[in-house]
Symmetry: C3
Subunit: 353 residues, 3 copies
Amino acid sequence: MESTAAGTKPRFSLARVRNHWYVAATSAELKSNKPIPRVIFDTPLVLFRDESGTATALLDRCAHRNVPLSLGRVREGRLICGYHGWAYDGAGVCRDVPALSGDATGRARRVKRFPARERDGFIWVFMAPDDEPAVEPFELPHLADRRYTTVRHAVTVPATLHATLENILDVPHTAFLHRGLFRGGRRHPVTAVVRRTADRAEAEYVGEPRPAGLVGTLLSPTGGEIEHFDRFILPSIAQVEYRLGERNHVVVTSALTPIGDFETRMYAVATFRTVLPDRLMKAILTPVGIAILEQDRRMLRRQTESVRRFGGEQYVSTDVDLLGPHIWRLLRQAERGDPPTEDVFERRVSLLT
Amino acid sequence: MESTAAGTKPRFSLARVRNHWYVAATSAELKSNKPIPRVIFDTPLVLFRDESGTATALLDRCAHRNVPLSLGRVREGRLICGYHGWAYDGAGVCRDVPALSGDATGRARRVKRFPARERDGFIWVFMAPDDEPAVEPFELPHLADRRYTTVRHAVTVPATLHATLENILDVPHTAFLHRGLFRGGRRHPVTAVVRRTADRAEAEYVGEPRPAGLVGTLLSPTGGEIEHFDRFILPSIAQVEYRLGERNHVVVTSALTPIGDFETRMYAVATFRTVLPDRLMKAILTPVGIAILEQDRRMLRRQTESVRRFGGEQYVSTDVDLLGPHIWRLLRQAERGDPPTEDVFERRVSLLT
Amino acid sequence: MESTAAGTKPRFSLARVRNHWYVAATSAELKSNKPIPRVIFDTPLVLFRDESGTATALLDRCAHRNVPLSLGRVREGRLICGYHGWAYDGAGVCRDVPALSGDATGRARRVKRFPARERDGFIWVFMAPDDEPAVEPFELPHLADRRYTTVRHAVTVPATLHATLENILDVPHTAFLHRGLFRGGRRHPVTAVVRRTADRAEAEYVGEPRPAGLVGTLLSPTGGEIEHFDRFILPSIAQVEYRLGERNHVVVTSALTPIGDFETRMYAVATFRTVLPDRLMKAILTPVGIAILEQDRRMLRRQTESVRRFGGEQYVSTDVDLLGPHIWRLLRQAERGDPPTEDVFERRVSLLT
């Protein structure tokens, strides 16, 4: 394997911000009678609904002989292990050991519980089970606004959380990798204002022409300038917002969940209102969006393979890598538990798109 | 990965009792003209029959260029390597190097031999090749008794030797995992007497009703109490014995062979005489037994995966885990070579089955 | 796993002679518009043709976000990364970053270049990119001689470079593994003269009868003695040469390329003139050669698996392992950079073939 450039120690951009909320599943995936397995930060979780229907997350391992509880079933709101029938309630307390007469509860027989919330059609889990959550899950915008239509799509990306976030919020690759589908053709000079605050980093594009390609033409057949924001919000939200006049507004929010260091689940929610009929927009945008996701997924897989093969990242960034370095800084600060800074970073950058 | 409970260091229940006999193959598998490869304790072995037909076990690696001897063939009782034709006798001595004129024997050209015995339809290998076997292979009961019928079945289980032994000899899971096939329905109180001596641990069930489900109904249509023993015998024998009156007697002996730390080969021999016609018993018991084995195998695979994923076992045992802890104690003592104790441990336990 | 013989520490015969030339691809494989990925010594390379059509080798990793450059395309002799469109010239200098206005070049944006040569239908790469090549690639014999016909074949062998070289140049296994195809039948005494000089080791066979089997019969229907040389030339050339009288001459040169420690690419070039029509020779020799290669490949795979399973090689050599030990000695000296010795080693050995 090649040695790295002098003085550069290869590493992976891995930050594990545990004391925060991550989407573990969609509400629709969690039925009342069947537990489902999920993995976040390499930790196996089992999700189930207790007797009140409340979504619950436990460590996916029976206290007895360590088989996954997700192999079992739910009976009257209790999660029952498939091996010997140990039954757990929503707090992870063992309520029944079938072969044992007498009380089954007992501290050693407990299974660790993770705080869970069901909100906006998702089940969010707080990944620091011994901490009290100091924050609530990210609230998805416009879901309750009846003027907006929502489309959801989930995909697993073989890449780090950081690489996935940077990819979603990076403009330069769109003109190249997604040429035709999204941007491409002649290069236009654009100014971006990059801002970083305590919990987020965003790029606002000034003077950006309507994107060339199919998406842009649909949004505004007559062209014109657009408002465009790319945003990262701690710990794992990537949001792309477009506004074209009063009547076109598209927000794509991706809640990312780190399955492991090199695997990230992406729950994308597109919320929009446009001049075109909703059903037409939906019918066209969905396949285009999925095609873009597939191109990105393939590239991220190859990036991950390459970085792992070389034993670490050796990135070279330029001025037009607007958000990646800021995302990394925020993730690292949050992982270390640094107190949030009140400083606002702001900078203007010229780029060609 | 989750950290473990305070003070508990995760580990695997791995004991490698090498100075003992393990089944390497069935007699039928070893033809006179073809070597076969086997792996025990991760050690590749080649089995073949020498000129007298005696089953022989050598390390499966040619002394010359280290290719597996099991790729070769047997000619006149010599095992011939497939690469350059080096020929070995039943003692592992090299008798011919085709391209070399002169004597081929020589200490460096020897391949290590493991003691082997052919008995009860199995080929047993002693896994400490430099020791003289102080014991003989376990003798399977009733094989010579013409009143008994024998059915054999072999299966590879993706689990440790200890987890497999515990599973075979564990009663509580049968009412749950094998519900319907074996036990299940209403719970009955039963008393078990657990005994541990120098080379074995057994549980004798007192006052056990005829098992519910298909197996029990076949054994005794009229119900009644049964005699039931579950036995572990060092190093790797699991035996389940049922007697219902004078005329029904079933002994299932499983000789387990550790292929590697997390893979165990199970040679099960069911020997029985019952009031029902042998062919009927055989026709019914065989598919039921195989179905039970498949359920256990699936659960053991998931247990193994889970334990490895968490970096070790974190078991919580209760009083009704009758034999698992005793099996582990005997295996560890045997692995360390502790002198056998004359003490007899005995304890009565109530459980619901 | 078995412990090894007393005093023998198991190891792998791995020598990585980097400051030398290896075949990375055939000329035909490298089109003008498409880069191709190759791996040598575990180092990912991308090959492409610059604007003058010159074969070029770079490290297969974009300086920006580390995706493989071989995923991209070639435009006007520049290699363009598929992710953000960074464009590299034949020296590995970045000439364009599409989203960036201003000069794109800059030392940090460079990708490491490996010296490359196109010769004899192969693209050779020098694997010490920071050194100046002190030698040129091995010149294949007789390619320009119109009396000779050439057949080429490439295959990937799952074995170390050393094991593959020894296999190609080893006579004793041919009578056994390739019995019928090549040698076999009654054993004949032969004398071999083994010579080792600074950069090569060869065995010359004296008094060797025409090989039995199909190949021999084709070369000389009337029998007779042959001239036969097996040669290793640093760092990775294996050459087998047969001459039968004035009119039959066959040279098979294999240029081996270590993909990784246990995977070797073999570019075989057979050059011959015989009494038989070229097309007939070609039509018969090609399938026979491929069949022999497949037998060797299978055996080398099993040898590699076995050696890795045992944690290292534990070879025992005899006098008739003529070249293997000398090849190893030369490879190790070259890897360490020992000054070449002027001594000539020569020894006569009797063997049966």
